[in-house]
Symmetry: D2
Subunit: 403 residues, 4 copies
């Protein structure tokens, strides 16, 4: 659905991550983990749990049918739980009574989305990391290459391309750091039962939630977060900020790739960036992808923030609206990170043209202005800063990787 | 993709309308209409046109493969045109040279989206119309039923439920009128060729565009609108306004359906609005759908508006971002209109409870305030206004239907 | 307040239009018109009305005090009405009892905002008109001047600068047409009384509203629109669309004004576009203003749309939020229209450089691609289209002016 | 400007913080700190620095005139620096040459905004802290008071009001923690000179920036962040998240304050929440303020995120747009925090009505559903969770206060 427009702005992995099959699989992981934890706490019998866990296999379910059924039910959880009970009942009438015990629709859906997001964020972070490392290489290599610094879209003075690359990279490194901090509390298991009190779990609720968190590799939030979406929304914000930083790089590359500027070009590759009408063109399609993401992500973030005043113990409309914004946000983000990672790794840099552009400006200025603002010696200062930033970013990336 | 969250907030028809198959079908309609019009203008041979038109059949194409290929190409048009040339070439080497002649990717994609939108808008308007007519019935039936008027979420005075319904309906009727006005110029054929000048059509461009408009049932805009998206964005705005008006109705119904208020209830129906945990609950899922749409649509509209400053003769990122916002907007809109149409047709109204709620407030007020503000006689005034509004709205809907 | 950042992105007139004094003046116009209409309908005595009308003079009120008092009261209307009653009471105890009779806070505030918007829209339309006419002159003058057509930020083929100007102008002309259509129903008097039923006006309500509409030069909506904001929101949308169209022009001009492109320059003017550090720079500050507006307006529109689901007969938070978005929207819009009107009137066009840029691209292409895509003869086709568009836009502007 | 609508949605302090006088004062603090640091680094003479520092006194400047002049100049910095040079020159021709040495407009404006934000955030955090502490008191006091838990706007089961309060408070505490983390890097001195390289500071740039950071109480970012706004945007996001959490509380309180529910009421206070027409009404105006903020803040955040792809070394339009969004965001946020802090401190809680509402639902249910879902014993479970949350939140607030 809508894949016509999303697919070339995202990645196959992202499309798959938010696909029906992957999401229903995550819901089944929740149900299995719930049964396992409830058996450990002696809330349900071990054999019933084993039976439920065995049934939580995606191939036993009609995924398309479940999704189709969700329209009438108002939620995907209702047909899934119903279907799981039937599958379990076919194995054991006894075990069927323990399916989804004490849990609610939102528990399984929020947790499944946390699992899917964890997966998607992993891929996103890897792509951002690749982009950041490519920038470090460029920053080092071109630290001393002078180029025009431009303000308000006009040449202003001289900088170095290495410093430009280091400045592009800094927000990616900081973004990865912030993302690491924010992902931890946000990717939490959801378990509150009908109204957030776990009243149907005989006092074992908190213990069960903690066990599920370990089992699923998610955080234990210590309480239900059904209508307290702040950590969750803060994570969306960080993704949005990183998309903005990728968009900044894409904006600059697209400007520097203009024919009249010709300082940069995206890597040439068979079948990429062609035109249906003009075979001579090479379009900066990686920048296009990142710029499109940077256009769209802020609106996804805004929608997630706007949905925060969720009524009482489960919202009417706000919760459902918020959930539906996540796939679009993450698909845009992954599209942007993948595109820029690849583009930066193969970026074609014309340092001679950069210098020539500086000279062109200098040539038309009065001598004193030329001397004051377009002396290429300024690039040595920039070069030092670029090298210092490379050192600190390299250290920061290493720290992230080892964390 | 992302259907997990969208499918229960939209309609099967809307999901289908923006599906890959339907969109590629619309692209093929464009290519066929182009060939037909170019043959009529003697720009290409009649037999070549006939061959191209015959080949523009969806079953000849690997839709999923085309979509997958669009990622690398940066646009769905490039693999489609390539694929169409191959299909035609298998029939006639001669004809293959005339495929997509003088057109560009954006021509086929914008026109295909206009066709898909025309289809989706038809369904949306029918649902809004149904909601408006259901409100007229309710407004007439309950014109004289007194109820609390509430301001800032507190009882303020007395109105009639009929007037409330007439007031809910008025923006739907106006919205249908505005939509009719706005859809006409917005649903335009796109034909500009590589850069909007139709330079590759031997001076026949404007004539060909006019013929295609008639053929496809779209407007002839008189020029290319590649990067002039104002009419198009204005249409998105009208859809957004209508979703807001549906959301207003849903907000009020959800408040009036609270247990403590109990003036209204959504129609009871097997399998709708149930809870996975609490079988006694009946959730207002139609309101949920419309409220979720009203949460999300403004951000879609904002994204479309924000994408308007499109660079030069074809934008880098802005155009692609804008396109990708449309399916989400229309799917939300259709979900809201369908849900509210059905809910309003079967709305359960408890006029006695409405009156009892008025009496409850009056009972606790000082006598003079009770007399000044909670005299049920006020509802006769409201009743007159409701009836007058029913008359004018009925006339307006009839005029729309006959237009 | 916040004028530090708004003032150079707007116009002095717009800042003034939404200033406290102007708004309180509009509120007093409402109160005077109400008294006048109620006297005509014999709802209040003529002498009381005359006294009230005389008192509705801005100089009798402590504007800053009223605004300061609105914080505690939750609305500016409450302190104003209280203050007006005091002023009238000082003249006539008898007349004071007829102040604001049967009206509610929202009546005076919505109507006052409609009056202020009417004023602001007049200035905005005049500036857009000026920009559109400047573009007609440019389109005519440069109809046959060839220039690069650029797609995805890369040279694609040849067009004419005249066609570019005509294409920039078309959305302004259409926007003025749409604005005219939308302003009429949106700029309506608000009169509903406490809950929209005009129950406190002895059956004279509709007649009084109609008289006030004539008096104030606003539309009579035929009912109260307290929580039915569709026409109002649709007007905001049109303003947003026009800002997007202005932003498109600014985007292109800023790209064409880059040093390396040098096809255009904003008019040079003492004290405009200077740099605090680099005296040699000339910054395109008109484009900056329009681009900033195009960045911001979509979010104002989204906020207005998102506020549409207003609860019952007066919303809690939504209404107040919506009102507060209007000044920002209109100030941005005016800033953009004024800046682009002036910039386009004095735009410096270097047609020789445009041609030289075409030649530069042609020079580096293979001969066949150069012939197929960069033949300057293409500009004659563009020239014809430009001239045809000038004719139709001239006619459309004339029709608007005489309407 | 626009204060008519903002003033009752914000606080006098916030209006003042973003006022012209306060902002120009912050700009002068930057210029003084720059001179002081440059003298310490021997870049400028000590006596010149002393003269400049002495002149950086707000009373020597025509604030309104500077703001008015910013329109033509395209930035407030240009007229301010010019005016400062004049003031200094009147004292010492020699010193005037050292004003604003090597700095650029964006340095002074960004730093001044950071100073103003630091001030505004202090007030915001204090108000959020007050709200959080009021919730701890309520959570403790009402830990064992049973009330309806409501999902999808329908009664679902039983919880305790204490748990509800603890759940409201948790995001405020987390928000204060996140804000503390995010404010540190975001509130950075800006010093990059014309193009971010500090080329005009004889290699002393980094040292000067570090000294200014200490002087002004801001962070030293280690480089210029002219067009790298990620930490800055991340701070805006956190403010937006906190406003969403305040909006959630306001949403619930407004629902629980409905006449038909009557579980809560905002504190009664002379002159607050009255109605111009209906003296018997008591409107929840604190909730109104927070809900309006929660409606508006997401759009401000989106605008700030959307402005991130800032061109090259200084953006055209994006930067200016971003700056102008901050005052609105912070004024909304402060309005919401102040309103909710006061409302929660004086919140009127009717625990008997809460219990009666539970009983009303239980009375109409089948016995088994009543037993399974509406047993008030469930509230003891909720009570335990509430008390545990009070303990952890108290500790967290204490840690924040001592940090």
């Amino acid at each position: 659905m809508s894949s016509v427009f999303e697919s070339f702005l995202s990645t196959p992995e992202a499309l798959d991550a938010f696909g029906e099959r992957h999401f229903v699989g995550a819901m089944l992981r929740f149900e299995a983990a719930l049964a396992r934890a409830q058996a450990s706490s002696a809330l349900i019998p071990q054999d019933a749990a084993r039976c439920i866990i065995d049934c939580c296999t995606i191939d036993r379910f009609d995924v398309a049918g479940l999704v189709a059924g969700s329209g009438r039910a108002g939620s995907l959880a209702i047909p899934l739980v119903k279907s799981l009970r039937q599958v379990v009942r076919a194995e054991s009438q006894h075990a069927a009574g323990f399916v989804h015990l004490g849990a609610t629709s939102q528990d399984v859906i929020d947790t499944a989305l946390a699992l899917v997001l964890q997966h998607a964020l992993g891929a996103f972070r890897a792509d951002v990391h690749r982009a950041a490392q490519a920038l470090l290489v460029l920053a080092q290599r071109h630290a001393a290459d002078p180029m025009l610094a431009r303000t308000l879209m006009q040449p202003a003075s001289v900088t170095s391309f290495g410093l430009k690359c280091a400045a592009w990279g800094a927000p990616l490194v900081r973004g990865l750091q912030r993302l690491q901090t924010r992902a931890l509390p946000a990717l939490s298991v959801q378990l509150g039962g009908a109204v957030g009190t776990l009243a149907q779990m005989a006092g074992q609720g908190p213990k069960i939630r903690a066990a599920m968190a370990v089992d699923l590799g998610l955080n234990d939030p210590g309480c239900s977060w059904h209508t307290q979406r702040d950590d969750w929304a803060a994570l969306a914000c960080e993704v949005g900020v990183l998309v903005g930083s990728l968009g900044k790089i894409a904006k600059d590359i697209s400007l520097m790739s203009q024919f009249e500027v010709s300082e940069l070009a995206e890597p040439a590759e068979e079948g990429r960036g062609g035109s249906s009408a003009m075979p001579h063109k090479r379009n900066p399609v990686a920048c296009m992808t990142a710029l499109a993401a940077a256009q769209r992500a802020p609106h996804r973030v805004a929608a997630i923030l706007a949905a925060m005043p969720q009524e009482h113990e489960r919202a009417l409309g706000n919760w459902q609206a918020e959930l539906a914004e996540w796939p679009g946000l993450m698909m845009s983000a992954q599209g942007a990170a993948r595109a820029m990672g690849l583009a930066l790794q193969g970026l074609q840099v014309d340092a001679r043209r950069m210098l020539a552009n500086v000279e062109s400006v200098r040539a038309v200025l009065p001598a004193d202005a030329a001397k004051e603002w377009f002396d290429v010696a300024f690039s040595t200062l920039a070069s030092e800063q670029a090298r210092a930033m490379v050192v600190s970013q390299t250290a920061a990336l290493a720290a992230l990787a080892s964390a």
